[in-house]
Symmetry: C2
DNA sequence: TATTTGTCGATTGGATCCAATTTGAGTATA
DNA sequence: TATACTCAAATTGGATCCAATCGACAAATA
């Protein structure tokens, strides 16, 4: 099947199966807002779009369902999950619980190279103002600090919910008045990690997430949801 | 019509699709240990077992993969995830982060009826010594206390990881020396919730989970993992 | 007119068929 | 003997086909 080879690319097969490719592509489209909440995802259309049959689409949609990115209605199809104040609060509550836990486990194991990379990412964010790119850098920054936690499943969950938060990024950025995420807090976390001060790093992180959650609530507050 | 069905007492189909049925059945089999870690899950065999084609099996396996209950190896098949000290520690780390957060949100909203039900479940656990039933009661007890958190996605995650912890229940029970989970802690949590003392309730809960985690590590310690 | 019933198009759920990949046994070769 | 290679069996990944279900709209009934 030539289509698969084309999709995968010859050198480094980023995706082992078409299903993985579809899942990854759809996920990114949802997270960046290219597919907004409420968009119906018709299997037939997606299959045509991807040049595949409906089967890999179905499996990919199932995976996205497990990540709470699409809703399934039997015999009626899948729909991109709506974003709302409630969904956002849910996401932030999960992050507020998981991320400090991951950071606390990771701090004692962080290497100077990890911290150097984190610094580079933060610097890069200073110069960046594209929302989608900012979201990715932010994600990479956070995951770098958590990366030594030694709990793969925990990190997977954190990564998923960090990614899901991208859907709310524009509210956060709008509230911050400019295209900058709280860089002082990012740098403060790096400093605390360098000093092996997990308590301080977690305190900043909790505040960091709390601010984002409040910005979201403030945005939704006027229009009752 | 739904009302009529309810009046008549007609059993509404618990599963809307075959995929849901397969997923639920396999999940329970894995969690209770009927399908131990490492068991290969051949689609053909399962299809014959369920009297279905391979397709609903495949979709169900995908869902289980997203819950970290099976591992997928492209073109080689799915295998029940191995339990290990590392996997268990991962699970407990996630629970230790999520459950206090859920409890804290829930405590102010808990009703006297919720607490009454929690008490009844704990009492029922006193008389029970079947492991699988104990696991289910334990799960229901915890979820009852968290149920008013008002964060559906958070509760879903908690429920999933509480369920996954059933795979480690026998280690915990063995360490406790008898078929009783820490009932004093369970009752202490109820009392703290009754007094709307979220801090105390969370403190007991954290200790509760920590104990379980340590019991697991102690079990795996002799045999280096 | 309001409510129920019937029919039909759209869409997904499930079955069957074909292709691609992995693995390991067996063989040839240095 | 060790290593590389070939090839076939087992198994899954993907495509195509058919059936079941849902929703909407029209027709019938009170």
């Amino acid at each position: 099947m030539a289509t698969l080879a084309k999709l995968i690319g010859a050198k480094q097969p980023r995706f082992r199966t078409a299903t993985e490719y579809v899942e990854s592509t759809l996920k990114e489209a949802i997270l960046t807002g290219a597919l907004p909440g409420g968009t119906p995802l018709r299997q037939e259309d997606l299959a045509a779009e991807f040049g595949l049959s409906r089967m890999p689409i179905r499996e990919a949609l199932r995976q996205l369902e497990a990540q709470a990115l699409v809703d399934f209605y039997p015999h009626r199809g899948a729909v991109v999950t709506e974003i709302s104040a409630a969904e956002g609060a849910d996401n932030y509550a999960i992050r507020a619980a998981l991320e400090p836990a991951a950071l606390r486990l990771s701090v004692p194991q962080l290497t100077p190279e990890d911290l150097k990379r984190a610094r580079e990412i933060v610097d890069e964010m200073d110069a960046e103002d594209g929302q989608s790119r900012l979201g990715e850098l932010n994600r990479r920054f956070h995951m770098t600090l958590y990366s030594r936690a030694g709990r793969p499943r925990l990190l997977t969950l954190v990564d998923q919910h960090l990614a899901a938060a991208d859907r709310y990024l524009r509210f956060h950025l709008a509230a911050m008045g400019r295209n900058h995420l709280s860089q002082e807090e990012h740098r403060g976390m790096i400093d605390a990690c360098s000093a092996h001060d997990a308590d301080e790093a977690c305190a900043i992180l909790s505040q960091h997430i709390e601010t984002a959650a409040q910005n979201l609530q403030a945005f939704f507050a006027p229009r009752q949801e």
